[in-house]
């Protein structure tokens, strides 16, 4: 690893008995550099650069009862119809629910447009999201994401009750 070069100092041995002998020292850095690169690759591979995003949700406290005029209430009912398709039924107040159906991406995109239009028409609108128990978590995240994109800040989550199921069955 480190060798000592003695060839230069041989001729001067007579004079330098008291003086400290100067000798050339060569250092082999290869092993240290190897270790350094090993550590470098280790840190490069284990480091996580991107932090996950979070979505904030504010729910009203459990005992709070907020009175909302029916005409200001947009109800969304989400039912998974197939493996990759979901049906979204929406209605304002006590109107008959209207169905949006299609693939996940398509129906959620359509929902976004609808939310924007309705909120422009009525800024007081409150959105109520009712999801079927069999729906996937990703559907909820996508819909809430769509709320955020459409600037719908006033929304609430509610369980899908039997009454809702009956309403949907009648359609």
């Amino acid at each position: 690893m480190a060798d000592v070069d003695l060839s230069q100092s041989r001729g001067k041995q007579k004079h330098s008995k008291k003086k400290k002998r100067r000798i050339g020292v060569k250092n082999d850095m290869t092993p240290m550099v190897d270790v350094a690169f090993l550590l470098l690759t280790f840190f490069m591979l284990t480091t996580t650069m991107a932090k996950p995003q979070t979505m904030e949700i504010n729910l009203p406290p459990g005992d709070a009862n907020v009175e909302v005029a029916e005409s200001n209430l947009l109800t969304l009912r989400v039912v998974p119809s197939d493996k990759d398709t979901i049906s979204i039924y929406y209605n304002i107040g006590v109107d008959k629910p209207v169905k949006i159906e299609g693939s996940r991406a398509k129906s959620i995109h359509a929902l976004g447009k609808l939310l924007q239009e309705n909120n422009k028409a009525n800024p007081k609108l409150i959105t109520l999201l009712k999801m079927d128990k069999k729906a996937k978590y990703v559907d909820m995240v996508n819909i809430i994401d769509e709320f955020n994109l459409a600037d719908v800040t006033r929304f609430s989550l509610a369980p899908m009750a039997d009454v809702d199921k009956k309403i949907l069955e009648k359609l």
């Binding site: 850095m29 550099v33 350094a36 690169f37 550590l39 470098l40 840190f43 490069m44 284990t46 480091t47 996580t48 991107a50 932090k51 996950p52 995003q53 979070t54 979505m55 904030e56 949700i57 504010n58 729910l59 009203p60 406290p61 459990g62 999801m131 079927d132 128990k133 069999k134 729906a135 996937k136 978590y137 990703v138 559907d139 909820m140 995240v141 996508n142 809430i144 994401d145 955020n148 994109l149 989550l157 369980p159």
Partner: protein, 138 residues
């Protein structure tokens, strides 16, 4: 080249943050949200694909206090998503450290039923503000 190698090495050594271990492997959904996950004071409720629920804390002190000293190093403990079990743990944790923020980290294919139960539980123990962990959508 060796100089640059060492420069990069120091850079990575100083900036690295080890990925926190997960109680359960989850595939996160994507969103356009811009909030970042906070670094400290987090209660993580992880929900796996099969609906199993885990509670986790980022600090070892909280883990030792809530789960017991022998579980200090465990990332998360399986909990029952009901008021007597998870609810009590959340209340205890929050009385110890009121700054704690609650995040839900759920797999995207988890049934909504479980997530709904956890969310209504949070509402019951008066955690009305919580975050859902997602990945950045492209």
């Amino acid at each position: 080249m060796v100089d640059i190698g060492f420069l990069l090495l120091t850079f990575f050594m100083l900036t690295t943050q080890f990925k926190p271990e997960d109680a359960v492997e989850v595939q996160l959904p994507e969103s356009h949200s811009v909030f970042k996950l906070p670094d400290a004071d987090v209660i993580t409720i992880s929900i796996g694909k099969d609906g199993k629920t885990f509670l986790g804390f980022d600090s070892q002190i909280m883990r030792a206090n809530i789960f017991g000293e022998q579980n200090r190093l465990r990332a998360g403990m399986e909990v029952q998503p009901d008021i007597d079990h998870l609810g009590q743990m959340l209340i205890r944790a929050r009385t110890m450290n009121p700054k704690l923020r609650t995040v839900i980290k759920s797999d995207k294919d988890t049934e909504y039923d479980v997530v709904e139960r956890v969310m209504s539980l949070l509402q019951k123990v008066n955690i009305t503000r919580f975050n859902l962990v997602t990945n950045q959508a492209k």
